[in-house]
Amino acid sequence: MEKPKVAFFEFTCCEGCQLTVLSLGDKLLDLFESVDVVNFREASSYRGQDYEIAFIEGSISTSKDIDRIREIRKKAKICVALGSCAHIAGVNAIKNFHNQLEVKKRVYGEKAWAFDSILAQPIDAVIKVDYVIPGCPIDKKEFLCVAASISNGVRPFIPEYSVCVECKMKGNVCVYHKPNPIVCMGPITRAGCGAACPSVGNACEGCRGLVSDPNLEAYEGVLEEHGISADDKMRFYRMYNGLVGGVK
């Protein structure tokens, strides 16, 4: 069987997802053996233009990005959004909720005008995305499973259920039930991370995006019960899910 040709590309992001791939350990060597990595700027000087599967990391946040990602889409058979930035615009979208000129000025002062910057968007705002590997950063195990599924010609499994499922499976004390409670987005967030955050005692911040049918009304009831103000609530949603429909 011919090895699938794979490329990695990054847009606006911290490149933590590609680094996660580079940190697969022994499995990284298996990956390099099983697929033909033709483009991986972070790890290689070789830049092949002939690829079938494109893993795309990062958000669209400059006008130049739009042309570049369209080019990639033209060449690739399968485009996979890698990580929150590509999937739901990630933390990049936080700036969308500020005054845009102000944002630029805060960082670049008088020269703000010189910098190309548009509202941060997930890549599916510009191109058709075949599959998504959610997370900030992606989960190593999930990446491998998805990569294997795709090279096997199978639609990868991404859980539809909530983070609470995985959190409970691990037997964690729910962070809402601790002596110093923390509010957690687990009940409405898509699982697949193995409840990484609550498992070490912190809140799920929703980096994998919401489940397909989140009950936001019920969720807001829970937040209210814990004395979370409307402002707090919005900031919470706007860690990762500011762009999600239904969040008011």
Binding site: D30, V35, Y161, S162, C167, M169, C174, V211, N215, A218
Partner: protein, 348 residues
């Protein structure tokens, strides 16, 4: 079966000796402000009473994730079934959880034997312990007739002071304590009876009441199939599945494949699943047979106290109260639901 008396010191020594000899002993240990079942290094770690474990011990016989088959596809195909079982002592198991396992025993041994479960189950020694105080404000085991084990234990301990009063549920259990036990005499039985009377009184006072009669629950739920309560409560449900995961008697599972990146080796595993989850009944055409969360809540409740109750003659909710605690929107507690149904009905 027979009962014996074993001094606590002897018993703990026995267990510690087993641990030293490499035996896997699992018991509840403290975890922050709650508890969990873990492999212990010494009996000192055991939490004999106090906060309940977050999830039931069912995972030790029916793991969260378990490989069922494995295969290789290099020149030809090879498939093997995978049944793993390692001899384990489950120690300090409360009656609600012993009963949970006893129910799973029935289910997995029905018709098509589930060897993955049964082998693990055979390799497990269950040493239960009687609860003398309620473990959480949510529990209602007394109301479900589940303060004592129905079946499914090897030994069952009751703290009677310096000794454990030990009920023996299997030959293996009997052998285990043969060196340190002495037969009980009438006064011991009397003492036990007293302790249990006191316990009953305490539980009757502390635990929330179940208004309908236990044996009438199937009928109550049947009559209330179309009650508005399901949608009322369902409106507040996340479909998060927490209530399924923590329950000692939920046993539904999903099965999924995982292939290695080189596509030559793979396995098929089962994972805990839950009827409260959206895709639980979704088929390829996109149809979801229990679309409404209220319908799912009804199904969950009916499984506990109607369908499976009728089928097996025993409630499938042992009253551990975990789901009531786990549910952040406080809608799932079966006792709550049943009381509300009972209140709305008849006694209007």
């Amino acid at each position: 079966m027979k009962s014996y008396l074993v001094s606590k010191g002897d018993f703990l020594e026995l267990i510690d000796g087993m641990i030293e000899n490499g035996k896997e002993v699992v018991a509840p240990v403290k975890q922050e402000n709650q508890a969990n079942f873990k492999r212990i290094k010494s009996t000192k770690d055991i939490l004999w009473s106090g906060p309940q474990t977050v999830i039931s011990p069912k995972g030790f016989v029916f793991p969260q994730e378990e490989e069922l088959i494995e295969y290789e596809v290099e020149d030809g195909i090879w498939v093997g079934s995978k049944v793993e079982a390692k001899s384990t002592v489950l120690l300090g198991i409360h009656p609600c959880d012993i009963n949970g396992i006893a129910l799973l025993d029935k289910v997995f041994a029905e018709k098509n034997l589930d060897e993955n479960y049964l082998k693990k189950r055979e390799s497990a020694t269950i040493i239960g312990v009687e609860c003398l105080t309620p473990c959480s404000p949510e529990s209602f085991c007394y109301r479900k007739g589940s303060v004592l084990p129905w079946d499914g234990f090897d030994l069952f301990l009751t703290d009677v002071g310096d000794d454990f009063f030990v009920e023996v549920g299997s030959e293996a259990g009997k052998t285990l304590i043969s060196g340190i036990s002495r037969k009980t005499i009438q006064s011991d039985a009397k003492k036990l009876k007293k302790i249990r009377e006191k316990r009953d009184n305490l539980f009757a006072k502390k635990q929330r009441k179940l208004k309908p009669k236990l044996e009438e629950l199937p009928k109550l739920l049947k009559e209330n199939y179309d009650s508005p309560i399901w949608d009322e409560r369902g409106a507040k449900c996340f479909g998060c599945g927490s209530c399924n995961m923590v329950c000692p008697t939920c046993y539904c599972f999903d099965v999924r494949d995982c292939v290695e990146i080189n596509l030559k080796k793979g396995s098929r595993s089962r994972f805990w699943d839950g009827c409260m989850l959206t895709d639980f009944t979704r088929i390829a055409s996109g149809e979801i047979f229990r679309e409404e969360r209220g319908a799912r809540l009804r199904h969950r409740t009916n499984r506990k106290d109607f369908y499976l109750f009728e089928k097996w003659g025993r409630t499938f909710c042992t009253g551990c109260g975990r789901c009531g605690k786990a549910c952040l929107t406080k809608i799932v507690d079966p006792l709550d639901i049943e009381n509300e149904l009972y209140g709305r009905k008849g006694r209007r």
